[in-house]
């Protein structure tokens, strides 16, 4: 009976973590892999590992552990893809910094970016999504929306500028 109680506690605690983290993790992995189904697999795998080692994970590090594990699994899959697609190449290039960035840094940025995207509204949001979530070229994004690549570029610049401002950065200063 005691054992049962304990596992039930674990289920309850895990359920909270799962419900909270599953959507953002799938989104993150989808961006990396370019495939929502594969992203769900990867997040499932990470959840499985978290379940196995639950007792060794301190409460404060669970979210960051999951995030790091999902990234690791996703990037591994990209590496093992037979054909190195442009997409994989692009992602690896663009996320070099992210690999080093710590989870909380990413979280902080992401919260700001979510606020910026929300504030900009449509069609900027869709344009950003097409170009940097689905990783389409500007040309393809422009075609899909029936607008010119220049307009796409303008919206992307606007979003970038807004995020930089939100982060309190000026111009190209780094």
């Amino acid at each position: 009976m005691i054992w049962k109680k304990k596992t039930d506690d674990k289920t309850t605690a895990f359920e909270g973590l799962f419900r909270q983290q599953y959507p953002p993790l799938v989104r993150h992995a989808t961006q990396l892999l370019g495939d929502p189904e594969e992203a769900r697999d990867v997040v499932g795998e990470a959840m499985e590992q978290a379940w196995q080692r639950w007792d060794t994970l301190a409460e404060a590090q669970r979210a960051s552990w999951l995030f790091t594990t999902v990234r690791h699994l996703a990037l591994n899959r990209l590496k093992h893809r037979q054909v190195v697609t442009d997409h994989a190449e692009a992602i690896r290039e663009a996320t070099v910094f992210d690999l080093q960035a710590r989870y909380w840094e990413h979280e902080r940025l992401l919260r700001q970016a979510e606020a910026v995207v929300e504030a900009l509204g449509e069609p900027t949001r869709t344009i950003v999504r097409l170009c940097y979530f689905e990783q389409n070229t500007y040309r393809v994004a422009a075609e899909r929306l029936g607008i010119s690549p220049d307009t796409v570029k303008k919206h992307i610049s606007k979003a970038l500028r807004a995020l930089r401002e939100a982060l309190g950065k000026k111009g190209d200063e780094r």
């Binding site: 289920t11 961006q31 442009d86 692009a90 990413h106 970016a113 069609p123 070229t137 970038l160 995020l163």
Partner: protein, 311 residues
């Protein structure tokens, strides 16, 4: 990123753009997350799963999975929640000619099939209305209007795009099979089975692919999620077929088929997920009896309105 235009950014900017992209990306819906969790939990069976209750009723099989979720805030609203308001509809299928247009309207519990002048086949759901031209103009897009639900199998004609206007939503077809569900008061949605369609709403414009649905959210944005086509399309086969669907959604579908107003007492209770399979040829009474037999809800008639309460 294999795109010269994207190379003009610094590494730092590219990183920020990736974060923006992530922020703009789609997350799994609450429904999908729920499903994933249930799957995960079933693989880690911690408890005896005695929550399946099976009941067979007449020729149909109805099953229910009461998930025993912590129903947060199981409060009772003073004012009942309106799930579906009955519409003013004809008592039999009618075809009315108005100038160059034809208006086809269906009564409760019936579907109607029509073939347009271009060969497009449309199955109109219950309590629905379709307005289409007697013949399509040669120099304009093919355009029809829909209130309610319909399945479209559109004849491909690259020179004449096919548009379905439903309330504020416009579906542009590029040769395809899809459902539009746009009952007044419900969230308008488009479910795509084959081919390719483009959904427009105000400034927004999105393409969806087979197995996806676009739903016009309460915040006036289009949301795209994946959908189980077999279940979504079950209405065409004359079935209510729901797997792990919130009770509230199931009740709405029952309302739209029988055109009966439905109210509920408590909101959280409507989130309960059920498995339910039943023929649409059954009477409303039979469906209500079947649901009541499961013990998931107490459904009663009051003044022509179905009231859904906790058992």
């Amino acid at each position: 990123m294999n795109d010269e235009e994207k190379n003009m950014y610094s590494d730092e900017d590219l990183r920020l753009l990736q974060v923006l992209g992530e922020a703009a990306g789609e997350q799994p819906s609450a429904e999908e997350t729920e499903k994933a969790w249930q799957q995960f939990r079933q693989q880690h069976r911690q408890r005896q799963n005695n929550r399946y209750i099976w009941a067979s009723v007449a020729a149909a099989v109805v099953c229910l999975l009461a998930l025993g979720l912590p129903f947060i805030g199981e409060r009772t609203n003073e004012r009942p929640i309106e799930l579906y308001a009955a519409l003013d509809v004809p008592s039999k299928t009618t075809t009315v000619e108005a100038g160059d247009s034809i208006v086809l309207a269906t009564p409760p519990e019936q579907t109607a099939e029509v073939r347009l002048s271009d060969g497009t086949r449309i199955v109109l759901g219950a309590n629905s209305r379709l307005t289409y031209p007697r013949s399509f103009a040669l120099d304009a897009p093919r355009e029809v209007r829909l209130s309610g639900e319909a399945r479209f199998e559109v004849t491909h004609d690259a020179d004449h795009p096919f548009w379905v206007i439903s309330g504020e939503m416009r579906t542009e077809v590029l040769g395809t099979v899809f459902d539009v569900n746009a009952y007044p008061g419900n969230r308008a949605r488009v479910i795509l089975y084959e081919g390719h369609v483009r959904i427009g709403h105000q400034q927004e414009q999105l393409d969806i692919h087979p197995g996806q649905q676009a739903v016009l959210q309460d915040n006036r944005h289009l949301n795209i999620t994946s959908v189980n086509l077999k279940q979504a399309g079950s209405w065409i086969e004359g079935l209510f077929d729901y797997d792990n669907m919130p009770l509230g959604e199931v009740m709405k579908h029952i309302g739209t088929w029988y055109n009966v107003s439905i109210t509920a007492q408590s909101e959280s209770f409507l989130e309960r997920r059920i498995h339910f399979r039943f023929p649409r040829t059954a009477s409303l009474n039979e469906v209500v009896t079947a649901l009541n037999d499961l013990g998931v809800a107490r459904i009663t008639f009051h003044h022509q309105t179905l009231q859904v309460e906790k058992p």
